[in-house]
Amino acid sequence: MNIFAGIGRTTMASLRETGQIANFARRGAFSWVSGPFYWRAFFNSLWRIGFASLPVVGLTAIFTGAALALNIYDGSLRFNAETFLPQILGVSIVRELGPVLAALMVAGRCSSAMAAEIGTMRVTEQIDAMSTLAVEPFKYLIAPRILATTLALPVLVLIADIIGVYGGYLVSVYALDFSGPIYVRNIAEFLENRDVISGLIKAAVFGFLIATMGCYYGYHSRGGAQGVGAATRTAVVAAAVVVLASNYFMTSLLVEF
């Protein structure tokens, strides 16, 4: 057993899969261009991905903002920089934590749901049935989900940013004796448009990647309940990993602009 052959084979397989996913994403994102666009399926996805994710995203944001305020306070106290808490917290949330945490929550909630739904449809021949009814599964199932997630995530992140900053506000004002108006003014004056916008751009890319993973692994499910379970698991893990990996690369590009 040649270890290099094994490594080579694994590398080739993962490259091939990456190519297939890229192809799938392109087909999914553009299949609707030649019409028709299924608005109903789109709004349905928008509702389930965007609106229904608000509670978890809000909870994540408020507790993260609160904990972040405590940590920044404790750390910056060591070199007497605690007055900069609002600014540091604001930048951390809008540039990094808001987008990444919201994306991870949506990845957990939605890529799994998409993989399970589409996977079940695959193994029960519902996708085949859809083709025989002259409706392209890519247009009806994949495109609405990818578009809805791509559009919903920036909005969710914007809300997460506001709630996260508010979580920091609560801790700063009620536990650390900051003045409320000064906290708000410091953040408002310090943050630049590009801080917020870079976070929202990331969010849109994350949304695209999350939906792509959920749909891809669901669409290619094999077997029965076990196959759907495996697809769901792979989709969530893959979505989380691509969110974190693409976050690094996008950050390194976006800090320069």
């Binding site: 028709p36 739904e117 085949d128 009814l133 409706v135």
Partner: protein, 259 residues
């Protein structure tokens, strides 16, 4: 070969799944407006054959001509052409479980033909009554139906848009004898009145005799016999005889482990 009247012409069709050679050279011609019943043992590839012709499974080798057009390569436009003129009842019904029954039936009307939802709904109620179901059933979800009702909804969905070519995979399995005959009549009516071409797969010999213009038997990946229903009793083919009379002993050996 395929003259002007032939709707479906399959030549030397092969399909394997790994080492499992399912179809090993199927030849099949079917004239427009005729009803063919395919019989054969469980697992001989009847459903796979239907899926190959429909463009859901890509054949390894061979040609499939529909109205003179070869669709075996399954390009995007081949597939669109085929799905545009055919309808299929799946063996497991394959209803969309997230949509109510009426929207299942009206799916093609709403999402492919872009009819209004109210018009599609009326058509769905009409199709429901044709398969012997009350209009109220339309508001239920597929998981709330019995197996036989699901089958009938699947049938209603397949015929809702009046396709030219129909595939019925075990249309009467799981139905009581009376309802089975209602479905047989419905299939006959589709073929006779609307001039549709039908391929039905069944194990139900009474149904086969009733709906078939011709019966073909699939065995070991090929069509080994084909004839009119009245000929099947005297086919002089030991495989066909064994199958028709349902005998465990004969040339067809079931892979059973005996103690």
């Amino acid at each position: 070969m395929g003259d002007a009247n032939t709707t479906i012409s399959v030549r030397d069709l092969h399909k394997s799944f790994g080492t499992n050679d399912v179809l090993r050279g199927v030849d099949l011609d079917l004239d427009r407006g005729k009803s063919l019943v395919v019989i054969g043992g469980s697992g001989t590839g009847k459903s796979v054959l239907a899926k190959c012709i429909l463009g859901l499974v890509r054949a390894d080798q061979g040609s499939i001509e529909i109205n003179g057009r070869d669709i075996a390569r399954q390009t995007e436009s081949d597939r669109r052409y085929m799905t545009g003129l055919s309808g299929m009842l799946f063996q497991g019904a394959a209803l969309f479980d997230s949509l109510p029954v009426w929207e299942n039936i009206a799916f093609r009307l709403i999402y492919s033909q872009r009819k209004s939802r109210s018009a599609a709904r009326e058509k769905a109620a009409d199709c429901l009554s044709q398969v012997g179901l009350a209009p109220e059933i339309g508001d239920l979800f597929p998981s709330e139906l019995s197996g036989g009702m699901q089958k009938r909804v699947g049938l209603a969905r397949a015929i809702a848009a009046d396709p030219q070519i129909l595939f019925f995979d075990e249309p009467t399995t799981g139905l009581d004898p009376i309802m089975a005959d209602v479905i047989n009549n419905l299939i006959l009516e589709r073929v006779k009145a609307l001039g549709a071409t039908a391929i039905s797969i069944t194990h139900d010999m009474a149904s086969a005799r009733k709906i078939a213009d011709e019966i073909a038997m699939l065995y070991q990946g090929r069509i080994i016999w084909r004839g009119r229903p009245e000929e099947i009793e005297n086919s002089n083919n030991p495989m066909v005889e064994q199958f028709v009379h349902g005998r465990a002993e004969g040339p067809i050996k079931m892979a059973l482990r005996r103690r």
